[in-house]
Symmetry: C2
Subunit: 249 residues, 2 copies
């Protein structure tokens, strides 16, 4: 809509691939070099680009500033919103967003199932650590001593036949989750429901939240649940990007 701004932003995008000269940049946006120079000067005054030597321009430090400040401003809930809603409408299953704060796993957002059979849960509610997929995801990358500490402090109340009931079994489960990249709750919390969860990561590759899908066993058997994994991981990835995460080599 705004020509000069559009051109300038194109320049910035171009510079992301490496330092460029005035002429190279002029060719990209197809304008006279004097026009390019004016744009670059303005960008330079805002520290979006900076000169490198005499013949080259490169991205400036304002980008670092902005990216860092944008990260501070962002909260997972708003950032993950679109990806989670999309997953919810596409699959129709209940989607939860949970985070780990002050030693507790909390549900911070929820997208209800469109199927008639719903499950009970509530935003703000605490999730039991030993029998939910989200808790496994959120805990599995804690530093090892801290993980042991947490595992031993849990009260392993057995809720179903599948509930994990010992620190040792739980720590082994966390190891599995960490290497698999996702977690399941195979009817460990409630007899008739199973869940699958994946991590949402931030700019430092740290786990900032967990997204899960909860499905009544009557709608989908365990293999069916596992088949949701690629879809769930793609969603988690999209949400991660919104949180400042970028793929590592």
């Amino acid at each position: 809509m705004s020509q000069s701004l559009d051109r300038a932003l194109t320049l910035v995008g171009e510079l992301a691939t490496g330092p460029k000269t005035l002429d190279e940049l002029s060719n990209v946006i197809e304008v006279h070099k004097s026009t390019t120079m004016r744009l670059l000067r303005t960008l330079e005054s805002h520290r979006f680009v900076q000169r490198e030597g005499v013949h080259h321009y490169r991205l400036g430090t304002a980008l670092f500033d902005l990216a860092n400040r944008a990260l501070e401003e962002r909260d997972v809930r708003r950032s993950a919103e679109n990806a989670l809603r999309e997953l919810n409408t596409r699959t129709g299953y209940t989607v939860h967003l949970a985070s780990y704060e002050d030693g507790e796993v909390i549900y911070i957002d929820k997208y209800d199932s469109t199927h008639p059979m719903r499950m009970y849960s509530r935003i703000g509610r605490r999730a039991p650590l030993h029998c939910t997929a989200v808790a496994k995801v959120l805990l599995c990358e804690l530093p090892e001593p801290r993980r042991r500490e947490v595992a031993h402090s849990i009260d392993y109340v057995p809720l179903t036949a599948n509930t994990i009931t010992s620190p040792e079994a739980y720590l082994a489960e966390l190891d599995r989750v960490r290497s698999a990249g996702y977690a399941v709750d195979n009817a460990e919390h409630e007899d008739f429901i199973h869940c699958i969860a994946a991590p949402i990561r931030g700019a430092r590759n740290e786990v900032v939240a967990a997204v899960s899908m909860s499905v009544p066993k009557v709608l989908l058997d365990f293999d069916g649940l596992l088949a949701l994994q690629p879809d769930l991981l793609a969603t988690a990835r999209a949400a991660s990007v919104e949180c400042g995460w970028s793929p590592r080599e």
Copy 2:
């Protein structure tokens, strides 16, 4: 120089302080809201901003992309150049830039002393690990096991009366450097020269390089050398910012 671009960049800067409404943004750049909207739309098409709800705009994910790609493009040498040259011309002492690669500490840049008495060194040369300030800085934040490994693999050739000659003494020295935030070489390498070095950090707060000043003892006594510390740390900080580092709380 380009009015609309200037306004747009101002908007981006403003959004860094948190999500804003159309009117708030219009007030900042003092234009009609329709003008602001056109700018925002263009910014949005490049993913520099995105809508949050219906009434708010916030910074978009392009910033993360750009910042990450800019970081990959940057190399320490070019990024630190200005800060180091400035330090060199202001103090007149020899300034070195060194990095740790493949188990070796290498001088990657050098700004010669303006004083008549110069020291011998060369870009590309390997710095001995046990008796240089830059090596201490570059090694002091390695993970503990790796640090022990390196310390025990060093050949502690005694070069002066002050040279550190045992792994134990060296590891203790690294601990001191880590907590102090800078390192010295108190004539441990050559009898008549002492150095002080500080870390240059990157976006993940990791040490990407070390900057040092080397001063002949006849020009400055040890207390004089230590008095250069604030100046050196400020320089290292400035160079760090250029490398994508941002102050942590």
